[in-house]
């Protein structure tokens, strides 16, 4: 039954959230120096005074969630949660813009290749997409920076300069991702076009391009989303590297800076928060599949 499935997923996720926060606090409490003592200049000896037990620390974490739960950054002295909230809008904008850009590139090309199945254009586009899909973020980023900033001088290499500064980071993320998406879209469209209902639509004399856009694409959306879901980890890695490469002030750069400065509180704080959000998002997508996709819904009822 679908309710049982959802219940099981929720219980599993709750357990994971508990395990992640528990281990996170355990690690933070084993590291030297408490957040309260860690302001620069007046940093007390790590083991001075009475340190609270681990249980009371975890209780504090739960009681203070989310404002003061993760303590302060060891470098800036600000609350971890404030630092993350400051950086989050930038990361969100970058993610949104890159995903929209990738979709805008890959959906038309994907449809085009599916319509021209096994012709020379199709093979050519596939070969190019294998090529672009293998482009590592840390190779592509400098290349784009050299072309657009050093040679042409139209876009800034780093820092924040209005809308212009989001273009290079999002291109760096979107180019490999849309190369990947093109192949996924093509494959699932071709799979869908083999089915019987397409044949019946075609028999009614509907034009090919209309069939692909209004019927095949619509039905293959779920399989596309499923495959894209597998790449989310990859995209997050890419975003971390891209942000730090272009000094884009998002959460990724914050994480990299805290790692470089050995600001353990901030680094592990970001890791704990991001994994909690990640678990939450996976749960939501899983449940929404079960509710939205009639195929899964009916499969569960039987």
């Amino acid at each position: 039954m679908i309710v049982d499935l959802v219940k099981k997923r929720i219980i599993n996720s709750l357990f994971t959230v508990f395990a992640v926060s528990f281990t996170g606090i355990l690690i933070l409490s084993l590291l030297p120096g408490t957040p309260e003592e860690a302001k620069i200049g007046e940093r007390a000896h790590p083991f001075q005074g009475e340190s609270p037990s681990f249980i009371s620390k975890y209780w504090n974490f739960l009681r203070n969630f989310p404002e003061r739960a993760l303590g302060n950054s060891l470098v800036s002295g600000r609350r971890v949660i404030d630092e993350v909230l400051d950086a989050f809008p930038y990361s969100f904008l970058l993610a949104l813009f890159s995903v929209l850009l990738s979709l805008a590139i890959s959906i038309p090309i994907g449809i085009f290749t599916a319509l021209n199945k096994e012709k020379t254009v199709d093979t050519l586009i596939l070969a190019i997409s294998v090529f672009f899909n293998s482009l590592p973020v840390i190779s592509l980023g400098p290349l784009l920076a050299v072309i657009f900033s050093v040679r042409l001088g139209i876009l800034p290499v780093s820092g924040l300069d209005g809308f212009k500064s989001i273009i290079l980071p999002s291109l760096t993320l979107s180019i490999p991702f849309s190369a990947y998406l093109i192949r996924i879209i093509r494959k699932s469209l071709l799979e869908e076009l083999k089915k019987g209902y397409i044949l019946s639509i075609r028999a009614r004399g509907v034009r090919n391009i209309r069939i692909v856009i209004f019927h095949a694409l619509r039905n293959s959306i779920f399989s596309i989303i499923t495959v894209v879901n597998l790449r989310i980890g990859n995209l997050i890695t890419g975003a971390i590297l891209t942000e730090s490469m272009f000094s884009f002030p998002g959460v990724g750069r914050l994480l990299v800076r805290s790692v470089a400065g050995r600001d353990y509180n901030l680094a592990f704080g970001i890791m704990i928060l991001s994994s909690l959000i990640y678990v939450f998002l996976t749960l939501i997508t899983d449940i929404s599949y079960a509710i939205l996709d009639p195929r899964i819904r009916y499969a569960c009822k039987e």
Binding site: N12, F15, T16, V17, A19, V20, T23, I27, V130, F131, N133, S134, L135, P136, V137, I138, S139, L140, P142, L143, A145, V146, S149, V150, V157, I232, G233, N234, L235, I236, T237, I240, L241, S244, M245, L255, V256, V259, A260, Y264, A267, F268, M271, S274, S275, L276, Y278, V279
Partner: protein, 263 residues
Amino acid sequence: MLVKNKKLIFAGLFLIFFVFSFSFILPFFYKISPFSINLDKRLSKPCFKAPFGTDELGRDLLARISYGGRISLSLSFVVTFLSLFTGTLLGSLSGWIGGIFDEVVGRVVDFFLAFPGIILALGIALLLGGGFFNLILALTIANTIEVLRISRAQTLKIKNMEFIKASLLMGSSSYKIITHHFFPHILPITLSHSLLSIPSIILSEAGLSFIGAGITPPIPSLGNIIAEGRYHLFEAVHLTLIPGLFLFVSVLGFNLVGESLEA
């Protein structure tokens, strides 16, 4: 595994061969040390004496990329092998024993899966500190999880089949069942998964070193060569583009081979 496209696999194998000979054979002929500092020749452009130019400390870039490639490739192979071994073994054990052991392993896997992308390896590397062996440990833990899941799922699939029951009736031990009956079914699948994940391991290593949580300078790796080079984007383009190209070629080679195989 079947070869789907012969041209692709030859192109991929050629690129892999190129990358390997560049990293492992070239040092026998090109005897310049990747560590020797020469401040008179900082940031020099590619020329006859230094085919790829030199970096901010005057170290030879060709030697550094070759050394970095050696580190990246050998690390990726060790990680692939270790995670294949532990993942397959733990997964089939967990599926075969079942009960509380399986439950515990499942929870541990869930826990590790909660960290997206590079973050798990980054956290482990940050706890252990950088360096070659700690990086191997961090990446192995991160990569074992997926292998373990596949191996466990396969074990559950064949565990209740007739031939296993027959083997049990004939008095086979658990050891014999796992090694003689499970492994021949599981290994082809986990092996092809591991081979396909080599490029992502190379990328994780480069990414971690780029961030500063992986191989630490002065030891060169592709990631930290690019990380150091990006501060000289305006004076010395070759410092980022050449190692970037090398990284791209190695990933492309493995991806082409993976693309042309059908598991």
